[in-house]
């Protein structure tokens, strides 16, 4: 039961953290909650589909379908997070003033809200399919103790959701002055971490060179299966033994989004002045 709880916790954690941060970051966008829930539901049904077709997906692209799918899902999520952060930095003032002009009902806002839908949906899709497969495996096994393992799964899931909720609640307590910079740094880190994970899958599929693998080894100081390692993995894509290419992706995305945010904030200021 304990082992099951840990596995499910690990799978749920990442999606939960992403949703917690995004939900906090968009709290002032009118109507964003609805889109978040819709994304969650779409992600869950997508996860079910992916789980059912694991074998088919795995066999695509001569056995590398899984890596390509994971890398694509991560890649799209990185783009959406980047777009979200750049959009937020040009609408920050309006959102802080709780202005209605930044809601889902306006044209520009609707695009921002469908991006939320995608971010949440993709996060749940990727992590959810593994949870579904694992729980299915338990349900299908003939061995005893099935119900206690299911209970373990529920405990793990609740704990994972609790972490995401704690992050959400914690972020809401951050003073308005620091709120935007805090959430945008977190979203930036999520995006860079996901880019690193996408690189990881492309290296595994031999579609990208690893470049100096491993770049470092911190598996004894900060193991990836310990709680701090797991949290860092979800937040910034921490790997105890990363390939050099992963760091290249991390830094490239970090720089690209930062520049985009700077540019968006500046062009907004110029428009406001004129």
């Amino acid at each position: 039961m304990f082992g099951t709880a840990i596995i499910v916790f690990r799978e749920v954690l990442e999606a939960s953290i992403i949703i917690g941060i995004i939900a906090a970051a968009t709290r002032n966008i009118a109507g964003s909650r609805l889109w978040l829930v819709a994304g969650l539901l779409a992600g869950l049904s997508g996860a079910g589909m992916v789980a059912v077709f694991t074998d088919v997906i795995g066999a695509l692209a001569s056995g590398l379908g899984q890596e390509i799918m994971n890398a694509s899902v991560l890649g799209i999520a990185v783009l959406m997070l980047a777009w979200h952060n750049i959009w937020m930095s040009s609408h920050g003032a309006a959102l802080a003033a709780n202005a209605r002009s930044a809601g889902c009902e306006i044209r520009d806002g609707r695009r921002a809200c469908s991006v939320l839908f995608l971010i949440v949906g993709l996060a749940v899709l990727r992590e959810g399919s593994e949870t579904v497969l694992f729980l299915y495996g338990i349900a299908a096994s003939e061995s005893g103790g099935r119900s206690s393992m299911m209970v373990g799964g529920l405990i793990g899931m609740s704990l994972g959701i609790a972490v995401g909720y704690t992050i959400y609640a914690g972020l809401l307590r951050v003073s308005l002055r620091w709120f935007f910079s805090t959430t945008s740094v977190l979203v930036l880190m999520l995006a860079a971490g996901m880019a690193s994970q996408a690189a990881h899958f492309l290296i595994q599929a031999d579609l990208l060179p690893g470049l100096a693998a491993p770049l470092w080894d911190t598996s004894s100081a900060l193991p990836q299966n310990g709680l701090p390692g797991m949290l860092l993995h979800s937040l910034i894509g921490y790997d105890a033994r990363p390939a050099g290419m992963q760091l290249v992706f991390f830094v490239a995305v970090l720089l690209a989004i930062t520049l985009g945010m700077k540019w968006a904030a500046r062009s907004q200021r110029v428009t406001a002045q004129s």
Binding site: L64, G137, H200, R241
Partner: protein, 105 residues
């Protein structure tokens, strides 16, 4: 001349074929073999066949690899080039039994 071209054309494939494949079988939530000795400094293909009726996730933090394997399915993944040493791997869904080591010499 024609023959020569054909040989040159086939050469890359011959090189590819020389890449060493290693096979792991998952049965009763255990890896067979649970110890694999491979050469260092080479890129290798690992074929994993799951003969169980439940899915498994191959996971190795040491190798920085993870991959789902459907019930009755098989997958391949690339590892290396590796330095000599021993690298542990396991099946995340059955951690108690699905364990193994890759020894690089």
């Amino acid at each position: 001349m024609k023959k020569f071209f054909l040989i040159t054309l086939l050469f890359p494939f011959a090189v590819l074929a020389a890449d060493t494949d290693y096979t792991l079988v998952i049965k009763d939530h255990r890896f067979q073999p649970n110890e694999l000795t491979v050469p260092s400094g080479k890129k290798l293909t690992l074929l994993i066949e799951n003969q169980d009726a439940t899915p498994e996730e191959f996971e190795s933090h040491a190798l920085n690899r993870e991959k789902m394997i459907a019930a009755g399915g098989s997958v391949k993944l690339y590892i290396g080039p590796l330095d000599s040493g021993s690298y542990t791997f396991g099946g995340e869904f059955h951690e108690a039994t699905a364990k193994g080591t890759i020894i690089v010499r």
